[in-house]
Point group: none
Chain length 222, copies 2
DNA sequence: CCGTCTCTTAAGGTGCCCCTAAGCTGACGC
DNA sequence: GCGTCAGCTTAGGGGCACCTTAAGAGACGG
């Protein structure tokens, strides 16, 4: 289990590295924010232990950058007790947990374990097509990383299409799935929803197969 | 099971000692902070019941000293209702639980039991979402560092939601978890509790997913 | 036994979503 | 090039899910 430790204080860093190594982690120790960003952009870690006061690039900035590229690597923040403001801002920026100075090594190890378990334990299945991503658990959709708001019907319809990429779904099939039982619609409601989806997600995503139905091509944008 | 009681009030201390002894604990009762530090540095206890207003050395100071030497002995803090600030600081300093004056002996005994049990395993991590923090052990919630009082139902509901951030929980799921199979409520009780939570914690925390249920987004507020 | 706190129930209001419908556009066949 | 048809686009009204509020039932402690 490889983790990244970012801490500029020599004494603290040394102690943390020793302790975390003892706890069974493979620890990479860097001293400034820029090095951290560089490492995080090329390598993968099970978690990051991040001090806030860093040379060259602040810890919060590193965190923000990390989350900005949709990297969900668990981040444990080290902060002084009197800097509650930083703590709150860190959590807002997407930190997973924090530990106050002075540190308890056991506590840090325990929290790391919890973080890794939480992050690793449930990989949420995500459906993708081109730049579109759909997360069924969160009922959320993103386009090129940007969140897109869909209504329930729109979401269900897109969900169906993404579960059957590269396969044409007939209008009949779609309506049967969307409208349970007997509330069959006798209008062009389906077309309207397709239209709304295209407005929000781009015209290239859903292809019309004339006389049959609709299809979403798999893989990258065709 | 030996525990340390630190309380300067004669009446209170006497009552607590009697009650806790009755509950099956071996109780050492000390009257001031310095004596407590002295005892804690040489002896081992299954838990500490700590009043905050103490002669010679303040309770919080004792707690800080204890945690400073990486002693993970469970600490239950006794505090007056109007000193919420102390409570929050105590939890930040590593207290495991707190009880408000006036005390209920049964409650204290129960919490002690829970503390000791948990000490053998691992403390539950704090759940966070945005500026909200929930401490399952203490059953406490803070918003931007400020303590927020929740009723039991409200707390349980929030707990469920925070354990599943970024995942939509259906109304059905929530009701099944909140109300043990004996009785499913056939009203909008859930909606009312959601409403109350929003009043206390802000409207942005809990998102309605129409036709499905509720969800609290992890990390920053979208 | 009374006051307080909490939870449920119920009613009324509201905003959003979804269907409908009707006109429009582009494709295909002749 | 024109007719026809499938699908596209737009707008509006109605319904329903959810919100909000208030009050009574129940639990608990004094």
């Amino acid at each position: 289990m490889r983790i990244l430790l970012v801490e500029d204080d020599r004494m603290l860093g040394d102690g943390l590295q020793a302790g975390l190594t003892q706890a069974g982690y493979a620890v990479d120790w860097l001293r400034d924010g820029e090095a951290a960003v560089s490492a995080l952009s090329t390598e993968s870690f099970a978690a990051v232990v991040l001090d806030l006061g860093l040379p060259k690039r602040d810890g919060l900035s590193v965190l923000q950058w990390l989350r900005g590229r949709h990297d969900a690597t668990p981040v444990l923040i080290l902060t002084a007790r009197d800097q509650l403001e930083d703590k709150v801002r860190g959590l807002d920026l997407g930190a997973d947990d924090y530990v106050l100075k002075p540190f308890d090594l056991d506590e840090i190890a325990a929290r790391l374990r919890a973080l890794v378990r939480r992050a690793h334990g449930r990989p949420e299945p995500v459906l993708t097509a081109g730049e579109i991503e759909l997360n069924p658990a969160a009922r959320s959709v993103t386009r090129a990383g940007q969140a897109v708001e869909l209504t329930p019907r729109e979401f269900d319809l897109l969900h169906l299409l993404l579960e059957n990429t590269d396969r044409v779904l007939t209008r009949r099939t779609l309506e049967e799935q969307l409208y349970t039982w007997n509330e069959a619609v006798d209008s062009n409601a389906l077309e309207v929803h397709i239209h709304h989806l295209r407005r929000k997600l781009g015209n290239d995503l859903i292809r019309t197969v004339r006389g049959v139905g609709y299809m979403v091509p798999a893989g990258t944008t065709p």
